[in-house]
C-alpha cells in the first residue's frame, strides 16, 4: 500500500479534523480510518506523538474531560491551516481519489497472488505428470502393486487415526463445535434462513460424529458391529434424504 499521506500532509489533516470540532485522540484515529475505507489504519503510536508535537508548537491544545484528553485547535493552528488552504484542497482531492486507488491496488495485489498461484500449481502438476510417465513398460503391474501398497498404507493410517481419536475425541468434540460456531458466526448475513440453518445442521452433524467416535473409542469394534453400524447409518441417511426431499 502506497503511503496515503505525503510529507507534512498528516499534520495538515490532523489540524483540519480538529478545526471541525474538538476531538479525543481515538476519535481522530477512527475518523482517519473511516476516510480511508479502513485501509489506512494509523496506530495510536503514530497519532499521539503527532498531536503532542502540534501542542508543543502551540497549534493545538488539550483539556482533560472524564480522564481523557480532548484536543482542540488554537488560533495559531487556524492560521497555519488558512495559510495552507490550497494544499488542503489537493489533499481532499487525493482522498476522494482513494477509492479508485485502493481498488487499483486491490486488483493488482489479487492478480499477482492469483497469477503466482496458477504458475505454482501448474508447475507442480507438470512435475508430477512427467515424473512416473517416463517408463511405460510394466506400468499396469506396478500400478497394481502401488494400489496394494496404498491400500495397506491407508489401512495403517486408519488404525493410527483410531488411536488418535481415542485420545482426542474429547478435545475434538469441543474443537469441532468451536470451529463450526466460529465459522457460521462470521458468515454473517448470507440468505437469512439458509446460513443459520446450515450452521445448525453442521453443528448437529459435528456433534453426532464426535459422539459416535467417542463411544466407538470406548467399545471394542468388530467387523460384525461395523456391518450393523453401516446398516444403521444407511437407514439414517435414507431418513435424512426423505426429510430433506419433503
Amino acid at each position: 500500500m502506497s503511503p496515503v499521506f505525503g510529507h507534512g500532509r498528516l499534520r495538515l489533516y490532523l489540524l483540519k479534523l480538529l478545526e471541525e470540532s474538538p476531538r479525543h485522540g481515538y476519535e481522530v484515529i477512527r475518523l482517519l480510518q473511516d476516510r480511508f475505507l479502513g485501509v489506512y489504519s494509523p496506530s495510536p503510536g503514530t497519532i499521539y506523538p503527532r498531536l503532542a508535537r502540534l501542542e508543543e508548537e502551540g497549534l493545538v491544545t488539550h483539556e482533560v474531560a472524564d480522564g481523557k484528553k480532548v484536543f482542540s485547535i488554537t488560533d495559531k493552528g487556524r492560521e497555519e491551516l488558512n495559510a495552507r488552504l490550497d494544499e488542503l484542497d489537493d489533499l481532499e482531492e487525493e482522498i476522494s481519489a482513494s477509492v479508485r486507488d485502493i481498488a487499483r491496488e486491490v486488483k493488482e495485489d489479487v492478480r499477482e497472488t492469483v497469477k503466482s498461484l496458477r504458475d505454482e500449481l501448474t508447475r507442480i502438476a507438470k512435475d508430477v505428470r512427467t515424473g512416473p510417465r517416463e517408463d511405460v513398460a510394466g506400468f499396469g503391474r506396478r500400478q497394481k502393486e502401488e494400489f496394494e501398497r496404498l491400500r495397506q498404507q491407508q489401512k495403517r493410517q486408519w488404525q493410527e487415526h483410531a488411536y488418535q481419536w481415542q485420545g482426542e475425541s474429547e478435545r475434538l468434540t469441543r474443537e469441532w463445535r468451536r470451529i463450526w460456531t466460529e465459522i457460521w458466526a462470521t458468515l454473517g448475513g448470507a440468505p437469512p434462513n439458509r446460513a443459520d440453518l446450515d450452521a445448525e445442521l453442521g453443528e448437529l452433524l459435528a456433534d453426532f460424529v464426535a459422539q459416535a467416535r467417542e463411544e466407538a473409542s470406548r467399545s471394542r469394534l468388530s467387523r460384525e458391529k461395523l456391518d450393523d453400524l453401516r446398516t444403521t447409518l444407511d437407514d439414517a441417511a435414507r431418513h435424512v434424504r426423505d426429510i430433506l426431499e419433503r
Partner: protein
C-alpha cells in the same frame, strides 16, 4: 427517491445504503466495502446516453445504470453504442451488491452478505468476499482471493482462480474454462467442480479432512495424495478416497480436461 443524471465526472455521497445494483458496459468498475459514508465517483464518462443514479432513502437502495439497460438484456448491451464509464463506489460491507458489466473489468472487495456479479467478457476480481457469492461470465475470468462462504461460478470459457479460499459451498461449472483453486476446507465444506474440456487444478492442505472424488472420461488424473486410490474403467477414470478423517467433500468432474489434486503444506 433522488435521481441524478450523470454526464461528466462527478462525486456523490448518500445516506444509508443496504443494496446496490450497478450495471455498466465498458470502462472500469470498483465496488469496495467501506466504513465511511456511501460514495460514488464517476471519474470518466463517455457515452451517448447518460448514466442514471437513483437513491431510494426508504428502501436504502442505490441503483446505477443506463436508462435503457435491464438485467435481462445483458447480451443486448453489446450491440449498443460505445459507453465507457470509470466508476468507483464505496458502500458498507453489509450491503447487498449486484454488479453487471459487459467489458468493464470489475473489482469487488470486502462484502459479507450477498454479492452477485455478471460479466460478458470482462475480468472480475473478488477480494475478501464472503456470504452468498455468485459470479457468472461468458468469457471473462474470475479471480478470487480470501473468499469464504458460498461461491457459485459459471462460465463458458472464463477461467476461475480461487486463492486462499475457505469455502462453505463452492460450485464451479464451466465449459472450457480452467479452474485453479487453493483451498482450506472446514468440516461442512462442500466443493463441486465441473468442466467439459477445462483443466482443474486443486490444492488442499496436507492435513485436510475430506472425502474426495475426481473423475474424468478421457482426461488425465493426477494426485499427490498417496491415500487416494484410482480405478480405471473404459469410459471413466476415477481417483477417490478419504483424506484425514473425512467429512468435507470435494468432487471434480471433467469430460476431457485434466484434473490435478495437489498436496499443500499443513494448515
Amino acid at each position: 427517491m433522488q435521481q441524478w443524471i450523470i454526464e461528466g465526472p462527478e462525486q456523490l455521497t448518500f445516506g444509508a445504503v443496504e443494496s446496490l445494483d450497478v450495471r455498466i458496459v465498458s470502462g472500469r468498475l470498483a465496488v469496495l466495502a467501506s466504513e465511511g459514508p456511501p460514495t460514488l465517483e464517476v471519474s470518466e464518462i463517455e457515452s451517448a446516453s447518460p448514466l442514471v443514479v437513483t437513491y431510494d432513502e426508504d428502501a436504502r437502495s442505490l441503483t446505477v445504470a443506463y436508462k435503457d439497460l435491464t438485467w435481462d438484456g445483458l447480451l443486448g448491451w453489446l450491440r449498443r453504442d460505445r459507453r465507457r464509464t470509470v466508476l468507483s463506489i464505496a458502500v458498507p460491507k453489509t450491503c447487498r451488491v449486484s454488479a453487471g458489466v459487459v467489458s468493464a473489468p470489475a473489482v469487488v472487495a470486502g462484502f459479507e452478505r450477498s454479492t452477485h456479479v455478471k460479466s460478458v467478457s470482462a475480468e472480475i476480481v473478488l477480494d475478501g468476499v464472503s456470504g452468498d457469492v455468485t459470479a457468472n461470465t461468458v468469457s471473462g475470468a474470475v479471480e478470487s482471493r480470501a473468499m469464504q462462504g458460498d461461491l457459485s461460478f459459471k462460465s463458458v470459457s472464463g477461467d476461475l482462480t480461487v486463492a486462499d479460499g475457505t469455502p462453505h459451498r463452492l460450485k464451479a461449472n464451466t465449459v472450457s474454462g480452467r479452474i485453479t483453486a487453493d483451498l482450506a476446507l472446514r468440516p461442512t465444506g462442500y466443493v463441486t467442480f465441473t468442466s467439459v474440456s477445462g483443466d482443474i487444478l486443486v490444492r488442499l492442505p496436507e492435513n485436510v479432512d475430506a472425502d474426495v472424488t475426481v473423475r474424468s472420461t478421457s482426461g488425465r488424473l493426477i494426485s499427490t495424495f498417496d491415500e487416494l486410490s484410482g480405478t480405471d474403467t473404459p469410459g471413466m477414470k476415477t481417483v477417490a478416497g478419504r483424506l484425514g478423517g473425512g467429512m468435507a467433500a470435494l468432487t471434480a468432474t471433467t469430460v476431457s480436461g485434466e484434473v490435478a489434486l495437489l498436496k499443500g503444506e499443513k494448515e
